[in-house]
């Protein structure tokens, strides 16, 4: 599958949900993370290193530890099998202000590679 930079937030969310729902690593991660695809936020609950729940609606008034918000173009390029330089990493995207990272950052930094891998899980496989 080849991504189009024009993917909508809903399409990006669908890709994320499909890939991330089964994401798990043997690591004691307990995090509530808000992820936003363009203007579409979802709450990702991680328990015992496993994605326990992805809540697509009803985010209002729900608390979360930290948020990762990105533009549709950012997520689409980030998930290409070979992302272009500067669009290939969560912090590269944050540096170029395509992604923003907000909130209580301790759980993010304590489990940074886990979160990076989870957010990259919809990435296409190189042919």
């Amino acid at each position: 599958m080849t991504s189009s930079p024009a993917e909508t937030g809903a399409q990006l969310l669908q890709r994320f949900t499909q890939a991330a729902s089964t994401f798990a690593k043997p690591r004691p991660v307990q995090v509530d993370m808000l992820v936003q695809f363009d203007d579409l936020p979802v709450l990702v609950r991680i328990r015992d290193g496993r994605v326990a729940e992805i809540v697509e609606k009803g985010v209002a008034l729900q608390s979360w530890d930290f948020a990762v918000k990105g533009t549709a173009e950012g997520w689409s390029k980030f998930w290409l099998a070979t992302p272009p330089a500067g669009w290939h990493d969560l912090l590269a995207l944050n540096k170029r202000r395509v992604f923003t990272i907000e909130g209580h950052l301790h759980p993010l930094m304590a489990h940074l590679q886990f979160i990076k891998d989870l957010l990259a899980s919809p990435r296409e496989v190189a042919a």
Binding site: T82, H88, K95, L112
Partner: protein, 282 residues
């Protein structure tokens, strides 16, 4: 039964740096023009193992890579337990010069990556007559910070894990998984606070913008090689730096990031071998 041994030999030597005796570990392979290799912040000389195992290089160069004090198998100087490690520009220059003197290297070539690339610029500025050539990999006179270094050393975040996770994005997506994870393992093994202490040099003490007028590329050629996927020291950072140094030669390397010699040695040698060829021919 035959024993398969790599040509790399590891030794220890002790010499003074800023008045303190330091027992320093180094590895070497090959013979010919001495080529001193400087590892990145928070890492160690294992980053250069591929160059030391490359007969195309070791047939012409004596490749030496040392662990900076506090790194790898080099201990901190005696009394370290009562101090906070902070690398400064002056200490770094003296460390490199002291290693070259201790090994009695005559006009060596120095190659350094990241912080090693930055100090290569300062070595050229201060001591162009002491080196045959300088190679700065991922080198710039300054670059914009992209995270808060206080995360690197605190009680409630594993230092090795967060260091590796932060720099993992600096490895290009094309780099082979085995080399990517070997590179990150080196970061996981650094001593507590050492990556942060190296970055004191990088972030605080070595803004070299406008201060490199002493570099004499007619005496000591300067080659700058930067990976296109390095968003810490970007190709634009290196190109801007080169603009201020008459005679500096710049190449932007495709499909590598911040750790070329370690993350993708096959790709890196495509760029390094022509540079070594030119240096040998001078």
């Amino acid at each position: 039964m035959s024993v398969s041994l790599e040509p790399i030999v590891g030794r220890y030597t002790t010499f003074a740096i800023k008045g303190k005796q330091c027992r320093v570990y180094f590895e070497e392979a090959g013979s010919g023009i001495p080529l001193v290799c400087l590892h990145t912040a928070g890492a160690d000389n294992r980053q250069y193992r591929h160059m030391m195992n490359d007969p195309e290089i070791t047939s012409r160069y004596r490749v030496l890579a040392f662990d900076m004090p506090w790194h790898g198998k080099s201990y901190p100087p005696e009394g370290w337990q009562d101090t906070e490690y902070k690398l400064s520009t002056a200490l770094y220059v003296e460390t490199v010069m002291a290693f070259c003197a201790a090994l009695e290297l005559e006009r060596p070539v120095v190659i350094g990556c990241s912080i090693g690339g930055r100090i290569v610029l300062q070595l050229g500025h201060l001591h162009s007559d002491k080196f045959r050539a300088l190679i700065g990999v991922e080198a710039a006179d300054h670059q914009q910070p992209w995270y808060d270094t206080s995360w690197l050393h605190r009680g409630d975040v594993h230092g090795g894990e967060v260091c590796a996770a932060l720099v993992s994005g600096l490895v290009a997506p094309q780099s082979p998984a085995v080399h990517r994870h070997e590179t990150l393992w080196q970061y996981m093994q650094g001593g507590p606070g050492i990556f942060k202490g190296d970055l004191y040099f990088y972030r605080v003490d070595s803004d070299l913008r406008g201060k490199l007028t002493g570099i004499r590329t007619d005496l000591c050629p300067l080659y700058l090689l930067t990976g296109e996927y390095d968003f810490s020291c970007t190709p634009e950072d290196t190109l801007r730096t080169a603009d201020s140094i008459p005679g500096a030669a710049v190449t932007v390397m495709r499909e590598v990031g911040h750790f070329p010699m370690s993350e993708n040695p096959v790709q890196f040698r495509k760029y390094l071998l022509p540079v070594l060829e030119r240096i040998q021919g001078k």
